[in-house]
Each structure stands twice: as structure tokens, then as C-alpha cells.
């Protein structure tokens, strides 16, 4: 899936935001999308914005339930900084209203926890392919 995205000649930069270190490392390890390179990790919204400014990523995976600043608010701020950033929400919150709210703030995709490696890669591929 990832292989046949020839339009993406350049590298895309990925920022992973999740309060769980285990999940951050899991996403980093599992994502096998070509041209997608992890440039930063953050464990809450505030940190995410800081890392975002430093690394200017193209793609972000975003948890919702986090200390300091939750993912929904963070999405809004990241989109304000860089409107064409692609954001995949990866959250355990499985209700529709939360998904709607995240999308409304500017997220582009939604993946529920728990997820398998295949689900993660499919969600990322769709996110990038659909851009």
C-alpha cells in the first residue's frame, strides 16, 4: 500500500504524541510507511506544540486523553500553526461525538485503541494517500 505512493518523492516527517511511552514506541516501531520518518515524540499537548515548532512535521499521530493539554485542543493549535498538517487521532475514546469534535478541529483520520500493526499502517496509508 505504502509502496505505491509514487507521488511522495520527498520524505514526510512524523510526530508521535501519546502520554504512554509504550504506545509511542509501538507506533514508532510498527509504522512501515515508506517516506515517513519519525522526527519527534511528545507525551502531552504542550510538549507536542513545542516539538512541532522545532521539527515542523507533516504528519502527526495524536492521543486524546493526556495530561496538561488534551489531544483535541492540541489538534486545534497544530492546525493553526500549519493548516496542511495531516493528523491521525489514535485514541481509546470510541464514541462518535469525540471523533466528530476531533475532525471538526482539523484532524484527518481516526484510529481506535487498541490497534493492531496492520490497522495502524492502513490508517496511516489512508491518511497520506488521501491528502
Amino acid at each position: 500500500m505504502a509502496a505505491n505512493a509514487p507521488a511522495l518523492a520527498t520524505q514526510l516527517k512524523l510526530l508521535i504524541v501519546d502520554d504512554s511511552n509504550v504506545i509511542r514506541r509501538r507506533i514508532e516501531r510498527c509504522q512501515q510507511i515508506e517516506h515517513l520518518q519519525v522526527v519527534g515524540l511528545a507525551s502531552n499537548g504542550v510538549e507536542a506544540i513545542e516539538v512541532f515548532r522545532q521539527t515542523d512535521p507533516d504528519v502527526v499521530t495524536m492521543d486524546i486523553t493526556m495530561p496538561e493539554m488534551d489531544g483535541i485542543e492540541c489538534v486545534e493549535q497544530l492546525v493553526a500553526i500549519k493548516p496542511d498538517v495531516l493528523i491521525l487521532i489514535i485514541s481509546a475514546l470510541a464514541d462518535k461525538a469525540t471523533a466528530v469534535e476531533a475532525m471538526e478541529k482539523g484532524a484527518n483520520g481516526f484510529l481506535n485503541k487498541p490497534f493492531s500493526d496492520r490497522q495502524l499502517n492502513e490508517a496511516l496509508a489512508e491518511l497520506i494517500g488521501g491528502a
Binding site: D19, S20, N21, V22, I23, R25, R26, R29, C30, T65, M66, P67, S91, A92, L93, A94, D95, K96, A97, T98, N112, K113, P114, F115, S116, Q119
Partner: protein
């Protein structure tokens, strides 16, 4: 008062976690009530406070061995104390978050807190009898404790 639908949602979230994240199903043991005091806990406990439509706490209590194997199943080689705490919190968060699919957005959940050490205890809210649901996975047994007012 307990509602079967609520408990079922939590139990389903728990078994699903193992099925999806570790590709190995967990089975549900015989559930029981805690009529006096607090239930005994395992080494690692991820605690989520629930508010809104129902108030109370839900926690996932697991022995070190189970979490270690779970981490390894997720291809994580670092099985330090810190990572085990992280994982147990994440499992609890996922279980509680998934419940909103069935119970709606009014089911507000907190950021997970982690209690460690079998000697410790998790503070339970007054006014509800906790239900303990043993979760069997491989050779290990964990507990899902649901205590809602």
C-alpha cells in the same frame, strides 16, 4: 446499582485489548462481588476515575509476569518497572475509553493513575459493591475491578 450492560462493556474492552494488541484472546473468569473492604490487588494497577452518567472507578490489576509477556508480545524489549506502569495505565485507559462507544460521551474518564505493589490498595468510592472480574490470559490472571455508584 450495577448494570450488566456497563460491566459487560468494560469486560468486552478488556478482552478486546488482548485480542487486538497481543493477538491472543483472553478469557473471562468467574465474576464476584466484594461485600466488605477492598479487593486484593496485583503488582500493577491502572486506575481510571469515571464520572458523568456513572460515577466511580475502574481499574485493571495485573501481575508483573502478565504485563511483561504482554509487552513482549507487542515487540517491546524494554520490560522495566517504568514500562510496566506505563502499560497498565494504557490498558486501563483503553478499556475505559472504549466503553464510550456503548455508553456515550457523557461517560467521562480521567487520565490513568498507576498504583504499584501488591501490599498497597486502591481507594474505592463509598456506596457501591465492587465487582471483580478475573481475566485469564495465557497462564496469568489479572483482575478487572468495576466500582460504580
Amino acid at each position: 446499582m450495577l448494570e450488566e450492560q456497563d460491566i459487560r462493556a468494560f469486560v468486552h474492552g478488556t478482552t478486546r485489548y488482548f485480542e487486538v494488541a497481543a493477538q491472543q484472546a483472553a478469557s473471562v473468569g468467574s465474576p464476584y462481588l466484594v461485600t466488605e473492604g477492598a479487593p486484593e490487588i496485583h503488582d500493577y494497577n491502572g486506575v481510571i476515575a469515571v464520572s458523568g452518567r456513572r460515577n466511580g472507578i475502574v481499574y485493571f490489576s495485573a501481575p508483573r509476569g502478565m504485563l511483561t509477556v504482554l509487552l513482549m508480545k507487542m515487540n517491546e524489549s524494554n520490560v522495566s518497572h517504568e514500562y510496566l506502569c506505563d502499560l497498565v495505565g494504557e490498558v486501563a485507559n483503553t478499556i475505559a475509553g472504549n466503553v464510550r462507544r456503548d455508553l456515550g460521551k457523557d461517560f467521562a474518564i480521567s487520565v490513568p493513575s498507576v498504583v504499584t505493589g501488591a501490599g498497597n490498595s486502591v481507594d474505592l468510592p463509598a456506596g457501591g459493591r465492587p465487582v471483580v472480574i478475573p481475566i485469564h490470559w495465557r497462564s496469568h490472571v489479572a483482575k478487572l475491578v468495576v466500582c460504580l455508584q
